[in-house]
Amino acid sequence: MKPFDYSPAAEVEEAVATVAAAPRAAFLGGGTNLVDHMRIGVAEPDLLVDVSRLPLDRVEDLPDGGLRIGAAVRNSDLAADERVRTRYPALSRALLSGASGQLRNLATTGGNLLQRTRCVYFQDVTTPCNKRQPGSGCSALEGYQRYHAIFGASEHCVAVHPSDMAAGMLALDAVVRVHGPAGQRSIPLEELHRLPGDAPERDTVLEHGELITAVDLPATPFAARSTYRKVRDRASFAFALVSVAAALDLRDDGTIADLRIACGGVAHSPWRAHRAEQVLRGEHVGDDAFRDAAEAELTQAEPLRGNEFKVPMLRNTMLRVLRDLTEGRR
């Protein structure tokens, strides 16, 4: 573990300016991922700017009926928030399916979005990894692939984004608010994370010094009928093999007015299932339509030798989630 400086920030502007001015500085949220990485040599920042105590720790109602979630809101507090539980149940469920009680008590909203892949090679500095050390190669291509991508991977990286929360938020049309050296901007969550391409070292579109200050959840007709299901190797404290978040707006005649489907554990980013959505929009709910939707999404799947099981697993999980959300409406 390399020596480093630690600086608690009192204001957003100050935190952003401090990190922007130091090329090897990093923001520190709950530290549940970054501090581990410092211990094992994956991250070696020389300055940590602690943003966990900035006044960004509240969940506030927005005038249009949405919610603004401060970036420093802890995962456990967010999951327990009554407004989230009733208006955005997929988010609450996604949060509670992740990590452990102790970790959720520490982990922040902003940090959760920016956590890094759990690919075993990324986390082992003695092995080649393009994400950790650009140009060194991808060990997973010939190695252990159980937890790796089936969508949107490249020859440089087949890692997946590990967050449950992000997949839940993606199905709720979340928008990420960012404060950077050049000012503020809003990024739809779908555009925050990148696919690996030839630059897998970049997880997101954020520039150095840009700080997530909040996540906005808009008021939508589909968020209230939403859920999240995660499939994993153990009943708790394990990352998703696959997960599905879905949100549906149903008409009285049993057709789908609008919907969102997002998947975790299958791509370098939380994966929005646009093709599946397209099949279902306007359709009558039912197993046939659900199967067609899952198949449409999976036509673009490119599983690896070690994770072919993810294709039927994702199909079945999507089917189950859609059934659960429409029970009694078929």
Binding site: R39, T126, R229
Partner: protein, 469 residues
Amino acid sequence: MTDQLTPRSIGIPLARIDGGAKVTGTAPYAYDQQVEHPAYLHPVQATVAKGRIVDLDTTAAEALDGVVAVLTHRNALALQDIDDPELQVVLQSDRIAFRGQLIGGVIADRPEVALEGADLVRVTYEQEPHDAELSAERDDLYVPDDVSGFPTDTRDGDVAAALERAEATVQQTYTTPAEHNNPMEPHTTVATWDGDHLLLHTSTQGVHVVRSALAPLFGLETGQVRVVSPYVGGGFGSKGKPHAPAVLAALAARLVPGRPVKLALTRRQMFELVGYRTPTISRVRLAADHEGRLSAISHEVVEQTSTVYEFLEQTAVPSRTMYAAPNRLTTHRVARLDVPVPFWMRAPGECPGMFGPEVAMDELAEECGLDPVELRIRNDTQTDPDSGKPFSHRDLVGCLREGARRFGWDRRDPRPGTGREGEWLIGTGVASATYPGNTQQGTRVRIRFSDGRYVVQLGAADIGTGTWT
């Protein structure tokens, strides 16, 4: 005198005498021992699976402020041959036998500096092709002399002929993955040399086991080594003998005489250095008549061990005594691989070895159209099929019947996937399990009676089960 045997504490809720200390975090586990001016040790581990160290550059680590010494095979004390290769090879040569093997350690004034120093040790290897993949198709599987003291193979009758004649058969292969010990308290040691006396505070399930292994390893009399272990935060068998890290701590402390050296493994290091259960591949064959009476039981196991130390899991041994059948076969075949050293992990043999045969019994029940509890009852035996000796006590049938009663087995819907509660599929199933009630000779206890009180002295361990209380 009989009134002395009336139990006063058994079955009564008791406050643990160490409960307060444990829940407040003040119980002194090995690493928590308050020692004067400690130094901290961080291991250096091999990053290749097989080969030789050709260069080991410790200059940068030694130059780091706060580093006290760097331990390598070049400055480590020579160890004695004690017929335990896992221990006696620690830092004795430039050979690498598995990825993660200990090849050195950095001793520093603070643990963070020791960790940084370990990262600064530059190692150059002459790498050799390694072989670390277990499969039943390997052509180099060997027949060990025995498996942890049990016969490697047993044969009675003719399994193949029984399978030919059988009205119902099951022939399947079942696998279990490698399983790693990782108790809440990792393996920790605080080692202090005082002249030619070694004091070890270490997390162990047997202080005498540690002493009797390490004393001769360091060329000492047993009395020159003292091992202290008041609390153990879980062991699961992995702390049933000392492993390489305890030797590393003692070697490191030798470089700083008189100064205690503290070592606590990280979670990740636990996967490579304290033993684990081999993956197992079990080929199980059962033959029965249409009423489910077994005519043959065959359990053929393929598993792995390390090139450093031959530890063998007695995977097929429980199949020798579980059910009666005139034709029986059990075998163990082993691949010796460039992998970390396996060792005891919670019910070695019984745990992975019961899985395949019990699933096969369920498949046989399905094949015969029988209730799986009834199938097991029909094949019970009061004589050990292996030795021919009667059991002193065996009540598997009673266990199965009582279990079935308590679980409402007679109201069960045997069709899979039919019971659902919310998001959960709820079903019932049955499996037999066994564990031997072994006794060991040679326990020594000193009991004195003075001033109306008994003083009992023995080398015991409390692995969290309440021995102190």
